[in-house]
């Protein structure tokens, strides 16, 4: 292993001088060495204390020290790294900010972590075409901040948007609270520059609509770093809405709250955000940020509408009427911007708020057809009792994306395992009612077993063939996203009790 590290370091650093790169060229007969003259600026981390911070992403239950962490600064350097890894069959795990929640950036013991953190420049903002061209390590929020001067913003806003990078968003097809109206990453990215597994650069998509050939852009977005390495992203920018306003509604019954969501949408209003929290989540959030939530409610809805000034007034009035008619016990419109932000603060802080009342929590990410919400919540509660682990529910109600938070204590022996098992059951329940095991967090390492529940062996085989079309040697983020057929048949044979995540 150490040998590979030294080889790597030598190859990367040797390119600093022409003389040495010529020697390289002789050694590497299997490809053009057009990068020989580049002054390499790759940082190479190999000591345990250096690679330690890369041992996990946002899903810290899974940890693995990588062999090596590389932080290149230029596309040519990434090309060179990929080419070397490809020649030597070394697996590569690309990584952005590491905020992912499914272990998608979990390193491999015999692999390289390729951090794109140094690719942090906004290359161009084009107000006329309403696009931004950025490097993959640019933070999601930084794009909107840079575009604000032109009255524009980048719509997808995952809750980690302060920290997460656009490259990671592309890998995961990240969502946020505004997906129902503004879509996911796939709806807001126009083009990417991608390095294929052997280092070749391809441009996919474009600012001109409907690129010729297959929609590779859609295929690449959400592919969890398994088909290529993104080195540049062009996103679509939208005009900042004139106004946004939020209504908070309390319900004495979760089912009524769920039905109210359907009523708003059926009335022809597409809210910019439509979030639900259940009793335990409301109490935790209120105790934490004092957002003014009714702590005696069984559920609250936050319904935000945006648009032109008049449109917002018109829609807010209708939303209020609809919520009252749907049985809301209390309906409050934020009276000013401060109160609007406070209402949202509670929702946005829901995860850390739950973190305060429990030593650990585990965040699930299933999507369901919304009409099955009462059944899913009821059966989740049953499972919660069965496992003796409390569950708080936070729900992107508009688009059916459910985030049950399982409260547990990792210091109690076996509790993490039981938590994962419970989580797996909840996801399988989502599939059973016609939903999916992941709405926006990705499969990663975490939900790889549940893929066997959602897809048939033939479907998984087809997904593996897609992978092979890009990466025949299976070097890009192996072991994530799509399970091998063998792994699935093993999982299916497990007795019911032992089937769980991880």
């Amino acid at each position: 292993m150490k040998q590979i590290i030294i080889l790597f370091a030598a190859l990367l650093l040797s390119a600093c001088t022409t003389e040495q790169s010529n020697k390289d060229r002789d050694k590497e007969s299997s490809g053009p060495t057009v990068y020989g003259q580049i002054n390499m600026s790759v940082d190479i981390l190999e000591q345990e204390e250096e690679v330690g911070p890369y041992e996990c992403d946002g899903l810290s239950a899974y940890r693995q020290l990588p062999l090596l962490v590389l932080l290149p600064r230029t596309v040519e350097e990434v090309q060179r790294i990929l080419r070397l890894c490809h020649e030597r069959d070394i697996p590569v795990v690309a990584r952005g900010a590491g905020t992912g929640l499914s272990g998608g950036a979990l390193p491999l013991p015999d692999g390289v972590v390729l951090s794109l953190a140094r690719f942090n420049r906004i290359l161009d903002i084009d107000p006329a075409n309403r696009t931004a061209r950025v490097q993959p390590g640019v933070r999601n929020l930084a794009i909107s901040e840079a575009a604000a001067a032109h009255g524009l913003y980048y719509a997808p806003d995952p809750s980690s948007q302060i920290a997460c990078t656009i490259g990671g968003n592309v890998a995961e097809n990240s969502g946020g609270v505004h997906c129902l109206k503004y879509g996911l990453t796939v709806h807001n990215v126009l083009a990417i520059k991608l390095l294929l597994v052997h280092g070749e650069l391809v441009e996919i998509g474009g600012e001109a609509p409907d690129s010729p050939g297959y929609d590779l852009l859609a295929l690449l977005i959400g592919s969890e770093g398994m088909l290529g390495v993104v080195v540049e992203v062009t996103v679509r920018l939208l005009p900042i809405p004139e106004r946004a306003q939020v209504v908070l509604a309390g319900f004495d019954d979760v089912e009524k709250a769920g039905a109210a969501v359907g009523e708003v949408i059926a009335a022809g209003i597409i809210p910019a955000g439509l979030e639900m929290m259940d009793g335990p989540a409301i109490k935790a959030a209120e105790d934490f940020v004092h957002a003014g939530y009714p702590t005696d409610a069984a559920a609250i809805l936050l319904c935000e509408v945006d648009g032109t000034n008049q449109e917002v007034s018109e829609h807010i009035a209708r939303v209020r009427d609809l919520l009252i008619a749907a049985g809301a016990t209390e309906v409050r419109t934020a009276k000013d911007q401060a109160e609007r932000l406070r209402f949202w603060q509670g929702r946005k802080a829901a995860f850390p708020a739950v973190g305060r009342i429990s030593p650990d929590y585990y965040c699930m990410d299933g999507t369901i057809p919304r009409r099955h919400l009462p059944e899913v919540l009821r059966r989740t509660a049953e499972l919660s009792r069965e496992y003796g682990l409390p569950v708080a529910n936070v729900f992107h109600a508009g688009d059916g994306n459910l985030h049950p938070l399982i409260l547990y204590d990792a210091n109690r022996p076996g509790e993490l395992e039981r938590t994962e098992e419970l989580g797996g059951k909840i996801l399988e329940l989502c599939v059973e009612v016609g939903g999916t095991i992941t709405g926006e967090h990705g499969v990663g390492i975490e939900k790889i077993r549940q893929m066997c529940v959602q897809f048939s062996p033939a479907e998984l085989q087809q997904l593996n063939l897609v992978k092979q079309a890009f990466d025949p040697k299976g070097l890009l983020n192996p072991g994530k996203g799509v399970p091998t057929p063998r792994r699935c048949s093993e999982y299916r044979q497990l007795p019911d009790r032992e089937r769980g995540t991880g």
Binding site: G151, Y214, D215, L219, Q310, E314, T436, K447, S456, F470
Partner: protein, 354 residues
């Protein structure tokens, strides 16, 4: 009408696969003029039809591929909903499957999204005669690669669509179209300036002399935006956007010369190519009627960061779509191999190599 022909289609495909007989997938034939000339034994999916699930409160509809757009849009209209990407029919009996396979979108495309933006899930028949399901009926779903969107616009070269699930949207409460006398240069600037402001713009078109702007949304906001933008209201605006533009009933489209579709970054200044022009999508889609040599058109479009498609007329056995780089073409071939190893589906419809 509702009819499940999955078993028959599967059997017919097995026979074709056993004999290595390429097939051309057909719905109503309304889009047979698109792409390179169809080849292979006719394989009709028009009889495989019916709406399977429609949930207005969840904004989703699932239908078999042979279902007509007319039936789907009629069903949605009863609930005050619509297909927001405004798919062109190009003929009576246009089917859902062909619309998604061709990946075509109408006037709202730059503002509401394209066909693929609304595709949530598919059930497909692959070249190995397997029926596979990808995606689903929910808005957010990142399990597995996005095969549904890969199928959209693939012209049936990767599989036979059996079912498609789409996101649907409410019909806007109010709509108005304004017309202004503008030069092409002015129109390009204005369409993009207004699109950069929070106005409820949902379609734009410039016919060489006049700029058409459609506003849709809440009553008050349409009225307010109309006063900001200005112009003469167009009385018969539904016909204009639907029949004249989306369905290409406009006189512009009825000329002998080949019709080119040129895709560009929206704000690109006018291209210096002789012929008749009609522009929509804020300038991102420009139609050109010309006898000009294909290579000159492709070169100009490419130089401006776009691409050109021979949409109607011309030589359908030659190059129709913009060429791909060698690396991209190789990826296309690999994917074709992954879904259709025997090369059965719509051979050569996009590129001779696929």
């Amino acid at each position: 009408m509702s009819q499940d022909q999955t078993t028959e289609l599967l059997e017919r495909l097995r026979v074709a696969a056993a004999a290595h007989t390429p097939i051309q997938i057909q719905g109503s034939g309304s889009k047979a003029f698109l792409g390179r000339a169809p080849a292979g034994e006719p394989f009709s999916v028009g009889g495989h039809c019916g709406i399977l699930n429609y949930q207005p409160k969840e904004l989703v509809v699932t239908a078999r591929s042979g279902t007509t757009l007319e039936e789907i849009e009629g069903t949605l209209a009863k609930e005050g909903q619509m297909l927001a990407f405004e798919p062109p029919y190009f003929g009576p009996g246009a089917t859902l499957g062909a619309s998604i396979a061709c990946g075509l979108s109408g006037p709202a495309r730059p503002y509401a999204g394209s066909a693929r933006d609304f595709v949530l899930g598919v059930r497909v028949l692959t070249g190995k005669a397997e029926t596979l399901r990808f995606g689903g009926e929910v808005m957010k779903n990142v399990a597995g690669y996005d095969v549904p969107r890969l199928m959209t616009g693939a012209f049936g070269t990767l599989g036979v669509l059996l079912e498609v699930s789409l996101k649907v949207m409410p019909v806007p409460a109010a709509e108005e179209t304004l017309v202004q006398e503008r030069s092409t240069a002015e129109a390009i600037v204005l369409m993009n300036q207004w699109a950069g402001r929070p106005l409820p713009l949902t379609a734009t078109c410039h016919d060489g002399d006049r700029l058409y702007l459609r506003l849709s949304g809440a009553e008050t906001s349409v009225r307010q935006a109309a006063s900001v933008i200005g112009g003469e209201p167009l009385s018969d605006h539904g016909t204009f956007w639907r029949s004249k533009l989306r369905e290409q009933g406009h006189g512009f489209f009825h000329r002998d010369k080949a019709l080119w579709r040129i895709s560009l970054p929206a704000a690109t200044p006018r291209l210096d190519l002789p012929g008749n022009w009609l522009m929509e999508w804020g300038g991102a889609q420009r139609w050109l009627r010309t006898d000009l040599d294909a290579s000159a058109i492709r070169k100009a479009a490419g130089a401006a960061g776009g691409h050109a498609t021979l949409f109607r007329g011309g030589d359908r056995s030659g190059q129709v779509f913009h060429s791909l780089s060698p690396a991209l073409l190789q990826l296309h071939r690999n994917l074709k191999q992954a879904f259709d190893p025997l090369g059965l589906f719509n051979p050569g419809r996009i590129y001779p190599e696929l």
